[in-house]
Symmetry: none
Subunit: 227 residues, 4 copies
DNA sequence: CATGAATGAGTGTTCATTCAT
DNA sequence: GATGAATGAACACTCATTCAT
């Protein structure tokens, strides 16, 4: 059982670990360290020296690769915003099964490739710091949110087109019904769950199954009883 | 049409008479100003002097009422965590209509009393700063999240008991299907929406209706075997 | 047995005490409170509000009587520098007994009228703050040190003139032999003794007797053995 | 003629190359600067930036070596409390001459090694700030005052044992007859003398000789019954 | 007169950033 | 390149002083 609180990485994982670092790896290690710290403590509360220390280099070295803490932050975000949407679009464009299966697959794949990985921290980061980095927020909106929303929208549209989903879906807004539980899960994972582990013994499989079930079939027993 | 980006409060415009003695009003004004700024910029990036200025007083005055910036933050959170759940529990315990109506009413009422008000900023604040203020996060978890979750769970249970909702609901997790769109809306309202207004021309009524519809009836046309 | 550490006044002696204060007494009470606090914590570390609180008035009232903290300090010093030297000079000018008796009497009287009283705090105060208040130091030098030294010098001279004291006394410097133990006693009383009570179980009578004995008769068994 | 007011050090005159890397030297330079300033103006009235400036570095550098102004103060005191007493004890334990010579030698050596040096400032510092730093005062009491007092006591005892000093000396208190003029001299040097130079044209040799003479032989012409 | 709420200059401390080595 | 000592701008917080009531 994959519990939410088990997913938080321990902080000092590789503080000592690999001493035989290749020089070319430096920026990557700095970005790695920075991602963890920014997600955990926020941009302002993260000290440049701490990032450097966790990456196993000196403070000065950090500024050798990134001209400022702000640029480091931006690099962290850019680095972790995968432009894999074309690949994913392809994947979903050629999907063969029912749209119901597609939705479940979509959720599963999102969890495996984003939700469960450190990439999920980026979402937390963006949402927390958006107001202080509006250009980054816009960038994220454009590179991730919009393509993601479009992808989801296309899936839903396919369902409607194929007669699987309700004709009267308000497509522009129905995407939130699918996206919200993912965003919410990320937020929990990176904020409250680490603070109150006993309150978040989430079984991810059940979580994902439950939201997929409810999303597809609704809470109600039958369809005709509109509220 | 209530658009998300219209909901951000403009700067305070008063700050009239200086040196006016009004001890009673000060703390509230400071908490008000602090809430706005903390939500907008985060705890660390908000300067004490700025909070004071927005409240129309000098820096020194802030520290007359709150011993430190951290205590101000805690006061902001505590102040805005109303213990209104007993009242709400009452309201829902004596609800007369169908549980479908109840869910719609719940969403509507949540928006009016929380989502649309500045109280929603607290959720953003907590989620953004939880790791830096774990005690506050725990406090919020206990005072808000847990009672809120319980309330929602009771509603769902009522629906199952009355035969309105599916028997096979995974109650512990179904609550997220209702809560996630609310949390997500709050996050959007306080982070990306102010940065990319053109991307968030959200019509709240449609948003709320859509998630309620989908939550209750699912995306699918009819209830066949789950995919 | 009068032990040094018993002589330190408890801080909150009259915090509540006499509520029926006469208005005319205010400045005096402020000076009283200020003296204690300045002696205990030094000028800089003493807060005006604390002085006011101990005197049982508000912060504003203090500044009603003294234009600034610095003026308060100066007033404290001036107030406690008794111009009683003319009286004392009289007393010693008409002294009838031997100069040995005179020296012992001088020490005793100093202790009773200065050393044992709160006036002794002034010396501690002046010495500690002299560099920050050079004009006050000069004032003290002129009003207290110089007359005091002169008085002592006259006593010693009387002893020499009457053949009681050694002819070869270096009068200008011999005064220190009498004054130093007094200054030292004051310093101990107001600094180290309150911090290390167990190290300063001083029996004042023995202290005064010992220094008088040694001053008058020296440590040596007989006079001719010059070192 | 060594006059007391000539002994005050002028401001530092170096501060040459900036950004010179010399980690080893910094703490010492800062402690040096801090000692001077703390002695002159007291702890509270000395600004951290001023200490740094006098040491020829920036404010930030000070906090690189000392975590706080208070720790700087403590370091200043500790640094200057040399544990040289064992060496001195040795020196006096093996002293060959008369105890009269020993007393004169003791006074002379004290002046050369402590009184005339900046170490004397520590005594002034401790006495002025004891009430604000009780733990440091206790530390000083234990590390300096007690060993010093013991050393003096042993000298006096030697004199009594060898029949050089009076049998009826009250040893516990007689130590003050020797120590007080030293403490007093330090106090004058660091407080009133710099303010009223014309009042303190002290000839140290005469001062030391006078107190030694009077201490050993007393003021009186011959040893008659104590008054 | 007395109050105490309000002020703002001043200071300790932090930390991103620089640069001599 | 890499380092880490040094910097100084920025900010939290204090407290003497003011002044409307």
């Amino acid at each position: 059982m994959a519990t939410l609180t088990k997913l938080i990485r321990p902080l000092s994982e590789d503080a000592q670990g690999k001493r035989e670092r290749r020089k070319e790896a430096r920026p990557g290690e700095l970005l790695d360290a920075a991602l963890d710290l920014f997600v955990e403590k926020g941009f302002a509360a993260t000290r440049a020296e701490e990032v450097a220390a966790r990456a196993g280099v000196s403070k000065g070295t950090l500024f050798l690769y990134f001209p400022s803490k702000e640029e480091l932050f931006k690099a962290v975000v850019r680095e972790n915003i995968s432009g894999r949407f074309s690949e994913w679009n392809e994947e979903f464009a050629t999907f063969e099964g029912s749209t119901l299966e597609m939705v479940r697959y979509c959720i599963q794949v999102w969890w495996e490739r984003i939700g469960a990985t450190r990439a999920s921290g980026i979402t937390k980061l963006i949402i927390s710091e958006a107001r202080n980095f509006p250009d980054l927020a816009a960038f994220y909106q454009q590179e991730v949110i919009r393509p993601g929303t479009d992808l989801v929208r296309r899936i839903l549209q396919r369902g409607v087109a194929r007669g699987e989903f309700r004709k009267d879906l308000d497509l522009d807004y129905a995407v939130f019904s699918l996206i919200s539980p993912m965003v919410h899960l990320i937020m929990m994972k990176h904020s409250l769950a680490p603070c109150c582990p006993q309150d978040y013994p989430l079984d991810i499989e059940r979580y994902l199954k439950s939201i997929a079930d409810n999303l597809l079939h609704g809470l109600c027993v039958r369809r005709e009883a509109a509220a």
